[in-house]
Symmetry: C2
Subunit: 795 residues, 2 copies
């Protein structure tokens, strides 16, 4: 028997649903309420137990279920997040427009979609290009200055001055970046991947796809990478691509107050989300030179319904994005037209004999995968506690900036100390990856090998670890580097700077992977196949990254594309799979942890397996605020203005005279639609005929999208409150409905597959008895003791 | 205004739906019928026109709408195809089982799924390995014999004897293959890709996933490739993988009459189809060494709902499959454990400088794409007419075998003539791809270059065209070869032999692509980048294949993976896109043509764009045969036995006393479930209490799956006919429903996204008014003059 944690708060739960007032403006409010509550109790086993809290009044209840101070933990779902509407509201206006359109217009729309995807690719590629050049430039200045300084003081003595210079330079860069992010747009912090995951899942994260966010993100990334933090510039590209897509596809920018009057057809959540998928894919593609990986990333994170043409368009955007990046970088590097170095990160080529692997290496790869999973879990656990600490104590911008500066200074100090105390000297070869070789205390013609790892942008360090010839690194150097970088990276992720975790993960993994390879050749020196530790560096990098982020297919493909070689596909898959299994045993992936800590109502792929116990009756929220087909304006305004329960969707019922019964469903209308109607005063006076109602067009709704004004900004006079509003033309007349007996997995499947926002629960007579929204489904999850239910909180 | 071709046959249309008899056994049959028909008329514009044919009686109507002789064309939908049930029937038995299962059992199930996917990969890889070795062996014998013979008679004169030997050997191989296919299992003919596309789309093609089909397919492929036809062994691998998956996942073989009593949980369409997706992916993966391409193929063709874990499992099966093939081939080739030559076809490596391309080559690639699209369309048009001819005139097995033999002999003759009259001699280099160099009339130390293309398995020829150094081929040779092979390949596809069209397409494209490259270097000899015509051969191959099959993302990835290099991703994508656009202008893709000619009710991704005119009311079939919750056994038997209308799903309605009205929906039951109930005599006598009804378990349904006995084989005595049957426990109590006003695109989306088989249309009161099935949706398509409706035919 499924053990259902009995934390039911089936009372009013706010957003996206009907409120506490009864369905119809009847007199028997309390009676009706109780009656429905009786239906919404939990079944434990197969016995219906009547909840003891049934008698509480609505007011008490609201206070109790929404404590003002929420301890931040992952057992909560926040009510502040709204859903996207992936389901078109097929109201009369929409259908009329679609019917007016000829076959040719649909073809033109399709071509426009392709053009937009092309533009998304181009802009994303350009942004990637800009970030790359800027980072190279600033990092170049910084490393040259520090190098000169070190060289000067190595002979003179007094290297502590070099350390201070390095730390100050780092902190300065990071400070600028952190201040911008913390003060102007906190949502631009971090890699942005959790936010984009949520957006593609159907959750509206405020301000996440705005132009301002993009500008600050790009600037922040340049600062934090140039500032020498243990971060990468790849993660933020995904966010950047998504913002580009959201902007380009709408043909206007609300931040810049410009409306180009183009692409108006695409001004709704359905179309926008498709383009944002393309943007995210283009971002991945530009970051890793992995167009297929980008498509798979978008699908893995976002797709609720796979469509061939959509996928093909997403792929087009991805391809254009790498191509653009490639093209402009080839010009920048002085070889215009040579299009063979895709991606921000370039793992270098694994060619020829080096890519061989043998059957008996596979168990070794699996061991590395397990190691990566365990280390990844450790990373995530430490970062989890750190994040909780940050949420509790470091929430003021000045503290956040100071923490970021501290991390930058410590990073410089640790790096310097590691380089200083390392006595691992290597002969200076023809190696082109050494941009800033540090001689330090080594003999002439030699360089400090620890400095290859620390005194460099992380991308270059990864490449060195993959490709430097055997013997370039001392095992102790690698061990110390892994240790130091691991903790630096843990500390860094979650700072208020724009930066990604991909590259640091790869770097940690590459370091211990290479170490693993070197140790292997000590154990069995006769095997020539182990001669190249670069191969193990690659596997280690995959294991570590997989252990931290737990992506599956898309990560395999990204790594395969980034190495430019398909031979390693099988080992990389095995390693990622092992890392995921081992890691999942301890804790979730890093992005999921951060999503949970934000209390986002994230819908996974399937309902929890043991949830067949639950039916729509238990899951739904009830009672529901419904409107009549022709409703009094005053009531609409009152309902919308009710700040204690902010509902976004309202079933429309057939006008009944009998107030005892819930009405029969005949449609569904959204808050945003009502707002537009109120704003345009689409009223009919009681006396007049219906035809006098002002005609609205779809354009009016599109112009208001996506930032619909709040109800408070709309003034409705006392006379107008007495008018009526005919919703028939504007409501969606055929919302999806399910009967009360439907099992949770079935409700979940319908909801998830169609990307719904509201699902109406009806009884045998088609009367509205409840409403299922994202939060009602996201509440249930599998915990340690079986099925658990999360609390809802107004954070 | 959408122009709707008015070919409405809204009268009884058979399979998968309610029949002509009224809902309830009422007396006012005709009246009710007419009433509902009136609701099912077509709206042209916004005016309801009453159809003139409304007054016809049902009997006349049936005769008219089902002519006995169907002209085979693409304007028909056959009624003989049934749908798969991708939607679980969540009846009480199922829910009870799921509720009994603990969290641990679900985890075990998940592990079992992984094990099955591993097994699918292993078996698919083994089959690929077997085919490869057998083809090499037999082709080796044949070519050695012919080569010796030619060498003997070149000096003696009388080469016509060699020609005869060659033609006879070819015909003999092909005869054996064609006889097996034509006489034992015609569904094993062709590549099997159209059939698997249909299966993944949700159409049950009879006998397509049986063990016998697999055996004949494998044998047939070996014969036809060894017989020198213009075919490849890659396409059939996809079908083979699918059969393996369908067999392994069920834990039994009905052909072998063995039940291993394992994997019983997976004996339903939902689970089976997921595994078949994995099998198809494993097949692609083994054929082209393209595991990611395989996953994308499955998703592109099959996915209605993308699920991360499912995709990851499919990828696992694909990877295991290439790995197995790789491993066993490495043993066969004497290099055990060297795992770097994946796939049946090996395009060879495109490494280093050869893979460079430059910006100004992109327009050239686009031109090649357009050329490929045009040539592909020509291929498809000729093959279309040929197929129509074959359906009309060559439908007896002996004729089919004779045609196959004729093609084999002609292929040998044409090849021989081309080689004989060619005077393109090339010096014999160190080239390892020349397995059977023919000297013929060339000087010593030289070989006939036409023979490289013709006197070889097509895979080797493709590789030679890609990789032979510049100057290996004379332009005239290539031109003649393209021409000859093009027509041979057109003629061959559609023969009653098991064989694929991938390799011939690639070969044609590679030939003209290389020709294109050579001509370029004539036009602008100064450009060093054109020095390597192999690059153009690759692009040409992609263009030609894309022009014929019109696959998009998956084909790009397959080609990228098969070349082992990601650099060509962008040009290949551009080329495939251009080829698809140009080709689609003329005619559909080859597989789609064959699917249409089979009149399969195939559901595309979206409803036609201009179909917002239509609502569920017009689309649905009505009236519907419904059953009461407790139904008389006699009536069930009668309804199931009615051969004129073979229905597969029946809404269950609340028992009403009023016969005038349609009943309120309370469930949906399938023919297969009723058959099992009848077979196990789950009856209650009228007098007795309901509790005496025999208890059935889910196992009884699973044991009968998938070959449910026909109703004729179940004997029901006259006494039993008077008994009652309580359907409550067995019906799906929460079928998906839509209101009558729902627009076609909305119905389509729901149906497609959830993989439904029956969708009940209800009125405001939740009364059953119609049923939408696959055929009702597949009927509408976009033709030359806007929206068209296909006829339904009982073929």
């Amino acid at each position: 028997m499924a053990n259902i944690a009995k934390k039911v708060s089936w009372s009013s739960r706010g957003d996206d649903r009907g409120e506490r007032t009864p369905l119809l403006n009847g007199a028997e409010e309390v009676k009706y309420n109780r009656q429905l509550s009786g239906g919404a109790i939990f079944h434990i086993g197969r016995l219906s137990t009547v909840d003891l809290e049934e008698e509480i009044t609505p007011e008490e209840d609201i206070v109790r279920s929404r404590p003002k101070e929420i301890p931040h933990n992952e057992k909560l779902l926040s009510l502040k997040f709204e859903s996207l509407d992936y389901d078109n509201s097929e109201n009369q206006l929409f259908l009329e427009e679609e019917r007016r359109m000829s076959h040719m217009s649909f073809r033109c729309l399709e071509i426009t979609r392709w053009v937009i995807c092309g533009l998304i690719g181009i802009f994303t590629g350009l942004i990637a290009c800009m970030i790359d050049i800027a980072v190279e430039y600033f990092a170049g200045i910084k490393y040259s200055a520090v190098k000169q300084n070190i060289e000067k003081f190595t002979e003179l003595g007094g290297l502590s001055i070099s350390l201070i210079l390095w730390a100050v330079l780092n902190s300065a860069f990071v400070m600028v970046g952190a201040i911008t992010v913390a003060c102007f747009e906190p949502v631009a912090a971090g890699s942005g991947i959790p936010q984009i995951k949520c957006y593609l899942n159907g959750v509206k994260i405020p301000r996440v796809v705005r132009l301002k966010t993009l500008a600050i993100k790009v600037f922040g990334v340049i600062c934090s990478v140039a500032g020498g933090l243990a971060v990468g510039k790849e993660g933020p590209m995904i966010h950047s691509g998504a913002v580009v897509a959201a902007g380009v596809s709408q043909g206007r920018s609300t931040s810049l107050k410009r409306d180009f009057k183009i692409f108006e057809y695409f001004r709704r959540d359905t179309e926008k989300r498709d383009f944002v998928s393309a943007g995210a894919a283009a971002g991945v593609s530009a970051a890793f030179g992995a167009p297929v990986g980008g498509v798979l990333f978008s699908l893995e994170e976002g797709a609720s319904f796979w469509n061939q043409m959509l996928t093909w368009r997403i792929f087009f955007a991805s391809m254009i994005s790498t191509f653009t990046l490639n093209f402009f970088l080839s010009i920048y590097h002085g070889k215009p037209g040579q299009l063979s170095s895709p991606g921000l990160i370039n793992f270098g080529r694994f060619d020829g004999d080096r890519v061989q692997y043998n059957l008996y290496e596979i168990p070794l790869f699996i061991i590395m995968g397990a190691l990566g999973g365990a280390l990844g879990a450790l990373f995530n656990i430490i970062n989890y506690w750190l994040t909780i600490f940050r949420i509790r104590y470091i929430h003021r911008p000045c503290l956040q900036v100071m923490e970021a500066m501290l991390v930058a200074a410590v990073t410089a100090t640790v790096s310097f100390a590691m380089i200083y105390f390392s006595n691992d000297c290597q002969p200076l070869g023809q190696d082109s990856t050494e941009e800033y070789p540090l001689q330090l205390f080594c003999a002439d013609g030699e360089y400090n090998s620890m400095a290859t790892a620390f005194f460099n942008t992380p991308e270059r360090s990864v490449r060195s670890l993959f490709h430097n010839p055997p013997g370039s690194y001392n095992p102790i150097t690698l061990g110390l580097f892994t240790l130091a970088y691991f903790f630096l990276a843990v500390w860094t992720y979650g700072l208020t700077v724009s930066a990604g975790v991909f590259i640091p993960s790869l770097l940690i993994g590459a370091a211990w992977g290479r170490l693993f390879g070197i140790l292997l050749s000590y154990i069995a020196p006769s095997q020539s196949i182990w001669a190249d530790p670069g191969k193990y560096a690659l596997i280690g990098a995959a294991a570590q990254l997989g252990g931290i982020v737990r992506m599956t297919l898309s990560l395999t493909v990204i790594l395969v594309e980034a190495t430019g070689n398909v031979t390693y596909g099988f080992p990389i898959m095995l390693v990622l799979m092992t890392a995921k299994i081992v890691g999942d045993y301890f804790i979730e992936g890093l992005y999921d942890i951060h999503i949970k800590l934000q209390s986002v109502p994230f819908l996974h792929w399937d309902a929890p397996p043991t949830s067949h116990w639950l039916t729509a009756r238990e899951v739904m929220s009830s009672p529901v605020t419904c409107f009549n087909r022709v409703e009094k304006v005053g009531r609409i305004v009152d309902v919308l203005s009710n700040t204690s329960t902010i509902h976004n969707g309202f079933p429309v019922v057939v006008d009944t005279t009998d107030n005892d019964e819930p009405g029969k469903i005949c449609g569904l209308i959204l808050r945003s639609q009502l707002i537009v109607l109120l704003k345009h005063k689409v009223f009919v006076e009681r006396a007049s005929s219906r035809l006098s109602q002002r005609k609205l067009q779809l354009k009016d709704f599109r112009d208001a999208y996506p930032r619909f004004p709040p109800i408070q900004s709309i003034h409705v006079s006392q006379d107008e409150r007495e008018c009526m509003m005919d919703l028939t033309e504007f409501m969606n007349p055929t919302p999806y409905t399910v009967p009360q007996e439907t099992s949770l997995p079935r409700v979940f499947k319908l909801f998830r597959a169609l990307g719904l926002r509201h699902l109406v629960v009806v009884d045998n007579e088609n009367r509205v008895v409840g409403l299922v929204t994202r939060k009602d489904l996201a509440r249930y999850h599998v915990g340690k003791d079986g099925l658990e239910e999360l609390h809802l909180a107004q954070t």
